[in-house]
Amino acid sequence: MSGKEQHPVSEILDQEFELSLKELCQHLDLEAELLMEWVEEGVAKPRSSTGQEWRFGARQFKRVRLACSLRRDLGLDTPALPLVLDLLEERERLRQQVRMLKRLIE
């Protein structure tokens, strides 16, 4: 198989992607207790059915990664994080809408 795949394998994190609490903590160098606090405060919302282990999908992985960097770089504390994350997502949605509406009127 010489040189057939020259590039490292790229994998899209899609609907099927999920991480356990432990895996998510390992990936982001995060204490499990802090992540549990974040889940309670609405930073991330794991998929869970009763009695089952928490699973975090791609969007939640992104939110938690973002929360880590906002905490580290800007000193945001837990109560501020869900608000900022929600507003950032909202801003993205509104930007898309503005772009589309601009095309209609320009």
């Binding site: 020259q6 590039h7 490292p8 394998v9 790229s10 994998e11 899209i12 994190l13 899609d14 390992q26 990936h27 982001l28 160098d29 791609a58 992985f61 992104k62 990664r65 973002l66 960097s69 906002l70 770089d73 800007l74 000193g75 950032l88 993205e92 898309q96 772009r99 589309m100 095309r103 209609l104």
Partner: protein, 315 residues
Amino acid sequence: MEFKDYYKILGVDPGASQDEIKRAYRKLARKYHPDVSSEADAEARFKEVGEAYEALKDPEKRARYDQLKNSGWSQGEEFRPPPGWTDGGGSTRGFDPEDLAGFSDFFSSLFGDGMGRGQRRRTNVRQPGRDRHARVEIDLETAFNGGVRRLTMAHAEFDEQGRVRQVPEQIDVRIPAGVADGQQIRLAGKGEPGFNGGPPGDLYLEVTIKPHRLYDIHGRDLHLTLPIAPWEAALGGKIPVPTPAGKVEMNIPAGSSSGKRLRLKGRGLPGNKPGDQYVILKVVVPEAKTARQRELYEALKKESDFNPRAGMEGL
């Protein structure tokens, strides 16, 4: 290498208190944080500000830097460390080399000694390498068809003397067809190297699709605003519509106004569940340029009882 005036970068006076330095850093970090900022050069500015803060936030490191700065160096000047310059034990807190990835050679030459004292280095336990996170901006055509993007990243390494140096690294990333805006791509094993035989971490890339001349991207769906003539809007009919895979014919129902949305199923970004392309109609009214064209508008006016402002009466 260039001398860096860390005070200038943070916009503070060389006599600023530690508190003022922290406040200035926080303010600039908010402005340029790549996850929050919409400034064009946010990522580079954020790194620069972070490096300046790293040098100035620790009073011992700051004192070492001040000593050098006071000997007459200024921003942008060609810099070589004075003979006999060492970190002098100024940095009591060791760094992991990953923490310094992307910092300038100037920083490494000032504080590069004794950096090998990071906590993770002290143990003999097998430890996996850290993940790396980066962003990649692609155009819609690449998202639609897939492609290869060359990323230039930097990682920090120790040389034989235990000094940190920045090693540029190029990675060719295959962008899978159908990746959506905001989605993440994982490249297993392309993160930081592991310790004591531990496996390397992964590289995660967050994809941004550049704004396109024609299409707006909503998840896997594409939105296209399509100009049509008033008679096309009134009479309906088949008109050609661009899609990323080429032109298709689309049927427009009679009596379509501006803002009407039509769907071309499966014409969005490819994937297990391909997205759709939505066509938003925009009626464009041509000027009546000839006498005959005017006449036809006049005839239509006489013939029609249409009142576009019917809902406004009595207001």
